[in-house]
């Protein structure tokens, strides 16, 4: 097929009439209107010319040899059903039937002879106006589609391709529109924990996804800097409150899984229940929404906090959006919570929750188009424990230059912070320290170990020192919850007490050394007893407590408790990686 494109403003008209005389008359009038005109003397030839020239306007006689005007019109409209090219019948058949047949055949109008040149030109102008409008809309629609596709690509590329641990976590996302209002994020914390977010913005489509980029940036950046999950949620909430219009908000579930603590932290603001299943598909925990969606209130409601539960490595955390619960079929039934729980159980037993569940939903909906975005995140609690720091840690006894540098007395810089009373409940010093180090010494992988050391030492000084909580509480599941409730209570009422944090940084020839000391106002403890208990616990692999100190012991070069356990000094040394 040859297509002669009409690039310039000159419009092409095709006149199909078996009378050469008529063709000439119409051609003259059309040329006066600025058209370039082609003519054909029967329907079949008309169709061929149409294909060849792709005109902007067709004038068609009805009674013609070889192929009449109706048949030719049907053929033309069949070739390009969505074409912008108007087709007008020119006839002397002045009957209702002729008019009806013309429109049925796909014509856009009819002109009955005889007509004056003025009437003819007016008719052409009016029909061209409609056609121009049509092509404008078409163009806008195409541009919008193109923008939407580009934005979609950006969204999935920029936001979700950066998710962590997708070899273990399964994520299902079925959007109702091109754009999903649902967002799924998984990010690794500096201490090896993993933060997960399932969010559902109001509505669907482009409008509902404008909050996704700031949300993912905040969630990612704060997680990587080591902020606690509740701090992140707070920040996300106030950011969305400032950013989004009143009727646009985010329903979301946040989860943090800590493999070395064997616990999960959850927060559900406006999504259906989140679940923790055991490996038989039994429901161990269920978390209902207990906070309005994010972005509605300027600050989180008072007393908002995370739910903390102990987990086994065989457990799975499963998050869903309301698109699953509210998936409907043609009988007006909804998929519902019960069906979900049954299918999830089957899926876990079959070791493929995502596909078993999605097949089940598809069968239930039986082809009814999806009204809402469907999202699922299935996270195993196993496999997140890393061989932390082992490769980064230096063996200082085998390295003379490091050993020599070890003797250095004056640090390159010092950092000190004393948190007293209420400020202990309000401030998490670890991200501040990490920021400081990153600013002065630049980013580096070895900071992950330092982050863990700092976090564990600070939590220990706060929980067991200042707050005087006994870690033996954490030995049972009930005690575990009790422990965190008690912790929260004591933090709220904290008037006195302090933690003094001191950092000394020494640069070494091929690396560096940080000496961390923490002094707390607590009663202290028998540190020798702690290590004894810990090594015993290691063999049982069951104790929920005391893991922190053991981890710090592994990561640091030396770890020493003094002043009856109220002062701790950890030394962390690393070597720059050789290229």
């Amino acid at each position: 097929m040859t297509v002669v494109s009409n690039k310039a403003d000159i419009k092409l008209a095709l006149v199909v009439d078996d009378s050469v005389m008529q063709c000439k008359v119409l051609s003259v009038l059309l040329k006066e209107e600025g058209y370039r005109v082609f003519t054909a003397n029967d329907g079949a030839r008309g169709v061929a010319m149409y294909i060849k020239y792709q005109p902007d306007l067709v004038l068609m006689d009805i009674n013609m040899p070889v192929m009449n005007g109706f048949d030719a019109a049907k053929k033309i409209k069949n070739i390009s059903p969505n074409s912008l090219c108007p087709l007008i019948f020119i006839t002397s058949l002045d009957s209702d039937q002729a008019f009806i047949d013309s429109i049925d055949a796909g014509g856009d109008g009819i002109l009955v002879r005889p007509f004056s040149p003025q009437v003819f030109k007016a008719k052409i102008k009016s029909i061209q106006r409609i056609s121009d409008l049509y092509s404008q809309i078409k163009k806008l629609q195409q541009e919008q589609q193109k923008d939407a596709e580009l934005a979609e690509e950006l969204m999935s590329g920029v936001i979700e391709s950066r998710n962590y641990g997708l070899d273990k976590i399964s994520i299902v996302k079925k959007a109702a529109a091109l754009f999903s209002g649902d967002i799924q994020l998984t990010v690794l914390c500096p201490n090896g924990d993993i933060n997960i977010l399932l969010g559902d913005f109001t509505g669907h489509g482009l409008r509902s996804s404008i909050g996704a980029i700031p949300l993912s940036e905040t969630f990612r950046a704060m997680t990587k800097k080591g902020f606690s999950l509740i701090d992140i949620i707070n920040q996300v909430n106030s950011q969305l409150y400032d950013l989004l219009p009143i009727d646009l908000f985010l329903c979301a579930t946040f989860v943090s899984i800590s493999a070395h603590e064997k616990s999960a932290y959850l927060f559900n603001a406006g999504l259906p229940d989140a679940y923790i299943f055991n490996d038989d598909g039994g429901i161990k925990h269920q978390f209902s929404s207990n906070h309005p969606p994010l972005g509605v209130l300027p600050r989180l409601m008072e007393n908002s906090r995370l739910t903390i539960v102990p987990i086994e490595i065989t457990d799975r955390v499963v998050l869903i959006s309301d698109g699953i619960i509210e998936a409907g079929n043609d009988n007006g039934e909804l998929y519902g919570v019960e069906r979900f729980e049954v299918a999830a159980r089957e899926g876990i037993i079959a070791k493929n929750l995502a596909s078993v569940l999605m097949e089940n939903i598809d069968r239930f909906c039986a082809g009814k188009p999806q009204e809402d975005d469907i999202s699922l995140i299935d996270i195993p609690c196993n496999g997140w424990l890393r061989q932390m720091g082992v490769t980064e840690k230096t063996n200082s006894t085998n390295n003379n230059s490091l050993e020599a540098a070890y003797q250095t007395t004056s640090p390159d810089w010092q950092w000190n912070l004393k948190l007293i009373g209420k400020s202990l409940a309000a401030v998490n010093p670890v991200p501040m320290i990490m920021n400081q180090i990153n600013d002065i010494e630049g980013a580096g992988e070895h900071w992950q170990s330092l982050f863990t050391i700092l976090t564990e030492l600070f939590v220990n000084a706060l929980d067991h020192g200042v707050l005087r909580l006994s870690s033996s509480l954490k030995k049972s599941e009930e005690g575990f919850t009790q422990y965190f409730n008690e912790r929260e209570k004591r933090l709220q009422n904290l008037e006195h007490g302090f933690i003094n944090i001191n950092l000394n940084y020494f640069s070494l020839v091929e690396g560096g050394k940080v000496v961390i000391t923490l002094k707390d106002s607590g009663d202290g403890f028998d540190s020798l007893e702690l290590f004894k208990n810990n090594s015993a616990a290691e063999e049982h692999e069951q104790l929920l407590s005391g893991r922190g100190i053991e981890l710090v012991n592994q990561l640091s070069d030396t770890l020493e408790f003094q002043e009856n356990g109220t002062l701790v000094e950890a030394v962390y040394i690393w070597q720059n990686k050789k290229n």
Binding site: G203, I246, C251, A269, G270, P293, L297
Partner: protein, 102 residues
Amino acid sequence: MAVKTYISDDNKHLSIKVDERFDFSQHQHFRDAYNKFTEKGTLFTLDLSNTEYMDSSALGMILLLKDHAESIGGKIVINKPSDAVNKILEIAQFHRLMTIES
């Protein structure tokens, strides 16, 4: 019309009743129902007893109404939500943002 309104004689109480489906398609009707009422301290009652389906954009519309009510020193009360709607309000924890009367 899918959104009906009733005004009390003293002009201080506007009752808005939404039909079976409360979703984005009601957006304009819903806004028109309350936008003109700017009498100080107006009580807006949202009757959801007939509503069986409500989506998240409806929750957004309720927040818009709440904002409007509060901007003129008024109040919003949700009245008689059906079970299905109540579940949605509960998940969104709207009882912490406004009064819901059963």
